[in-house]
């Protein structure tokens, strides 16, 4: 048996080094499945890393969770799934904290939650509630009206938390969630989150932004690799094409004319010698 401490260390490293590639996620997931007897340990490891790393890594871990639960479920290790269901609020708060620093991750959280729901790792009610919280966080972030020219000329520093009535809207998870009476561990985590909330939330440094952009592109590329897939079902492909086909328009005529011209040219070029000969003779007449 491997040393639990070593397992934990290695898994932690793998989580830290997650990137946009599928292989990195798979590797980490397989490792976790291999040492499933330490499931609880490794799960806490995930939570720990979610709260300790920068926003990019948190986003990567979030995507990893989707992958990981998938594989765990397939292998029948429902422990991981159950634990993740239990702690999902904590995860969300870590990835998209309400202090604005994780605003860029809100979309990631949404996407992953949606995926988890469709795979029925999460029930719809929980997702809906989290969704509400997220919307508020999003809204608060969006309050930053970056109008130009600004009403009060831009001497103020705009940050998500800082601007306008941001403070009023800010503490979404705390104000909104308790009333919903979820049984999840929300209060504690939000408390921790709000404590961290500084006046000027950490601005992502340029390097991280660029890294994130690249990783998002990478993920997008992979996602697009499946775009061509045709949904199963009778005539699905036909229906899809039908839906995507527009009415006949001017541009279609334009294309038609071009193709017709091309066809005619080709037709002429392929006439047999006799026909061309005959035309040559008849032409002058």
């Amino acid at each position: 048996m491997a040393d639990p401490f070593e397992v934990r260390m290695r898994f932690t490293n793998q989580l830290r080094q997650l990137n946009a590639s599928v292989t990195s996620a798979q590797k980490a997931a397989q490792y976790a499945l291999k040492y499933r007897d330490m499931a609880e340990d490794l799960h806490s490891c995930i939570l720990e890393q979610l709260e300790r790393n920068n926003m990019n890594t948190r986003a990567n871990i979030m995507y990893f969770i989707e992958h990981f639960l998938d594989m765990a479920n397939k292998d029948g290790h429902v422990d991981y799934v159950r634990m993740m269901q239990r702690d999902i609020i904590r995860v969300v708060d870590a990835v998209a904290p309400d202090d604005g620093s994780g605003a860029a991750n809100v979309k990631v959280v949404r996407k992953v939650l949606q995926a988890l729901q469709t795979k029925s790792f999460l029930d719809a009610q929980a997702v809906t509630q989290i969704e509400e919280v997220l919307r508020d966080r999003d809204a608060s972030a969006q309050d930053i009206a970056m109008s130009s020219p600004p009403p009060a000329d831009g001497d103020d520093i705009l940050t998500s938390a800082d601007h306008g009535g941001g403070d009023d809207n800010m503490p979404p998870s705390r104000t909104l969630l308790p009333p919903t009476a979820t049984t999840l561990t929300i209060t504690t985590t939000t408390a921790a989150a709000t404590n961290k909330r500084p006046n000027a939330p950490p601005k992502l440094d340029k390097k991280q932004v660029e890294q994130r952009i690249e990783e998002d592109r990478e993920r997008h590329k992979r996602q697009r690799e499946n775009i061509w897939a045709v949904p199963p079902g009778e005539d699905a492909e036909m229906e899809k094409l039908w839906e995507e086909t527009s009415d006949l328009g001017e541009d279609d005529h334009r294309m038609g004319e071009e193709e017709w011209a091309e066809w005619k040219a080709e037709f002429e070029a392929r006439k047999c010698v006799h026909q061309r000969e005959a035309e040559r003779k008849n032409g002058p007449q």
Binding site: A145, P149, Q223, E250, D251
Partner: protein, 748 residues
Amino acid sequence: MAARGGYRGGFNPPPSYPKGQYDARSYGQSSGHGTPVSSFHGSPTAQSPYGGSGRGWNHQPQFSPQGGQFSPPYPNSNYGPPNGPQGHYHGGQAQSPPYAPTGPSSQYSPGPYRGGHRGGSFRGGQFPARGGLRGGFKSTQWNPQGNNGRSQPGPAEGSDPPHATSHQSPSSHTERYSEKGDGATAGSDNPFRPSKDLQVEDTSKEEQPKEDRMPPPSRPPPTGPQSTTPNKFSFSMKNAVKPVVAGPRPEISSKFNAAPAPREAPARPAAQKAPPTRPERDRGGFPKNAPTEPASARPRPGVPTGPGDRRLPEPARQPEPVPKTRKVKKIVKRLKEKPTLPPDLASSKSVFFRKPGNESVVGSGTYGKVFKGLNVYTKNLVALKKIRMEGERDGFPVTAVREIKLLRSLSHKNIVQLQEVMVEANDCFMVFEYLSHDLTGLLNHPTYQLEEGHKKHLAQQLFEGLDYLHTRGVLHRDIKAANILVSSEGILKLADFGLARFYAKHHQLDYTNRVITIWYRSPELLLGETQYGPAVDIWSAACVLVEIFTKRAIFPGDGTEINQLDKIYSVLGTPNRKDWPNLVEMPWFALLRPTYRKPNVFEEKYKALITPAAFELLASMLVYDPDKRPTAAEVLNHPYFTTEEPAPRQAIELKDIGGEWHELESKALRREKEKKERERARATQQQFGSKEEGRPESGSTHDRDRERKRPNEDADAQREAKRPHVEPNGSRSTTTGAAASRAAGGRG
């Protein structure tokens, strides 16, 4: 067996032959008709003697079948005579039938019949003619006929007697038929009967044509006559025929000599007149005329029959009208003088000559290099875009395939034309038409200044090209000054479709957002949007338009998304949700949100530099919300193009500026200048800031997006300093604008 071959060939073909072909052949090879018949009877041997005329023979078999079908073609043909021949025929047939029964009756009821018919037909109609002409040819086969013909040839009247002979011959023929065991008998009947009339017609007609072609046969015909007398009985024998041939020639030749001119003339008239005229006349006329003409003239037409049919028949007919003088059209082929290539071109290993080394490079980028090439034969200039294969793990780069496919489907005067794709020495080149300038090079020309009308014309072409692309469902995705070519006549063409793709016009798909050279990249792309459309090209085009007006890029960032957005914010101000409702939906909005609010200073900076309509147009395109940007078609309807003076005017003056101005040249020039200026700047420290800034900014930076960006970072601060620099351009352009308005007549 050979006979059969001919036989069948003749028969079968007739049905299969299209009338069209028929006509052609029948005319050219009329002789064929006669021959087929011959082949029929004694045919097999007949071919052998001809040997050289093998072709003729082949044709002939076809003809015979055609005979049946001929009727339709004939009418068209000059021969018109079909009617005439028919007449003959009937006569012939009438006669023949009686004979036929007699001869063949015993053996072949149908066979003899046919034999009789043919014999009759031939004899009646053809004999006279053939007698002369074919007699020799077919003599082997036709001996009986030949005999008749010849015996008659002298006297047209002889027709009757020939018939008699012919009758006999038919019988012999019939015998042969039987011998051959024509499987075709049943089938042959059908062909025969129709053919009879037709054949008769044909024959009469054919005779004429035969004359033309017959030349080779013509020689033999004489033999026919000689042989005829003896042949009647022996005619079946091939051997007899051959020897005979030698004899007849002299006769024919003499005849020919006597009446050489008429050859065709008679033929035609005969053909045409023939129908009305009685067979006798035909015969009479034919024999006389026929031999004469064919002898000299025939050989030529006859030989070429296959290929020459087209050319030869015509000349032959033309001479016809002039009866007595011989006109022979000779077609002589002379080799054209071989064009010689100058040594440097001659030594070129490629069809497209390139100057050695880097001399021929007119552009380079991530895609590879572009060379200027000269087609050594046509002397046309081309641009050769070498497709980079290095580092391609998956073979031919799919991006290149995409580009080629796209370009092949595009055809517009403002889109660069892909002429071909060439593989040479293990390299793949895309061959484009060559244009002398690109917009970057042109705008950085040291002396040449575009007039306002020129600028408008260029802008118009830019948007016409874009409009075409967008209506065809293509996103260019790399619009920038360096990708816009300008010919020496001032025609603008969009180039470099390496990033272009078809897009779904009526529903939104997901595309990569890593497109468009970053200076020209629209804010939605910079914010990570993957569901975009033609508006991204409009943004790029607007940036290019600014460059056309001011000679400087409007958003010269340092190559990173963050800095690029800063550049945009610093001119257009920071975006807000009111102007751009989807702003917060942008994937990287939270990631890249500005920290400062910035005012829109676009008006402040540019209004003074350009005309009011131009400013209005630019302002409408450079808006954050892609949905609010005008389409290319709408841009073209903007007052800037439609009403504001001066009208667009083609920059034909570009012919005179000399040289070629591409980004490449302008870069070299710029480097030179930078060097000088740096030295000067060292001398006069005060001006350092402004001058240094001015140089690199003016379009120089286009290509190396990633590298040189730092100097520009504080462009904001320096902008003010530069302003004085910019203004001179603007004022100059307005003055030139006045000049342009004077010449506004040239508007397209």
